[in-house]
Amino acid sequence: MEPGKVKELILKGLPKAHVEVADTTGTKDHFSAVVISDDFIGKTMIQQHQEVYKTLGNYLTNEIHALQLKTMTKEQWQKENN
């Protein structure tokens, strides 16, 4: 799967998110993703990751063998980048 398709799927489920996806191995089945969204406010890390996993449905573990995931709210992102 192309990284752009992964991004598209995540954005379809989380339209307000900012999403960056990279192919980590060049084999189109191992990806890393950063998802920044205020949808994550008040949620545990587990819940945040589960929300992203949900957007990928059965693609995850089939076409997508591995997904390194980092989720954060806009505020967390700003803190990390200052």
Partner: protein, 107 residues
Amino acid sequence: MELKEQIINDITTNHIMLFMKGTPEMPQCGFSNAVVQALNHYGVEYKATNVLTDPEIRVQLSEYSNWPTIPQLFVNSKLIGGADITIEMHNNGQLLDILDSAGEKTE
């Protein structure tokens, strides 16, 4: 015991329970290895199940935990996360607190 019962039994009777690809001595996946290294860093005792021994383990486990990928780390019967969350919590110190709460830290 049925497989699903066995999985739930492992999660609820072991303070620290890891489902992984391969074994702690010989992990078969970089993400599973990362969690093993984190746990080894604290010198805690844990039980590990190799999901590669039976594909059905993974299916039943994910159904129970609502978590699609391997590894999966449980402390006190609660899902902590996969590799990303475990490593992030290892880096920010939260993992130590959680493992402490499992009462299994040897140092």
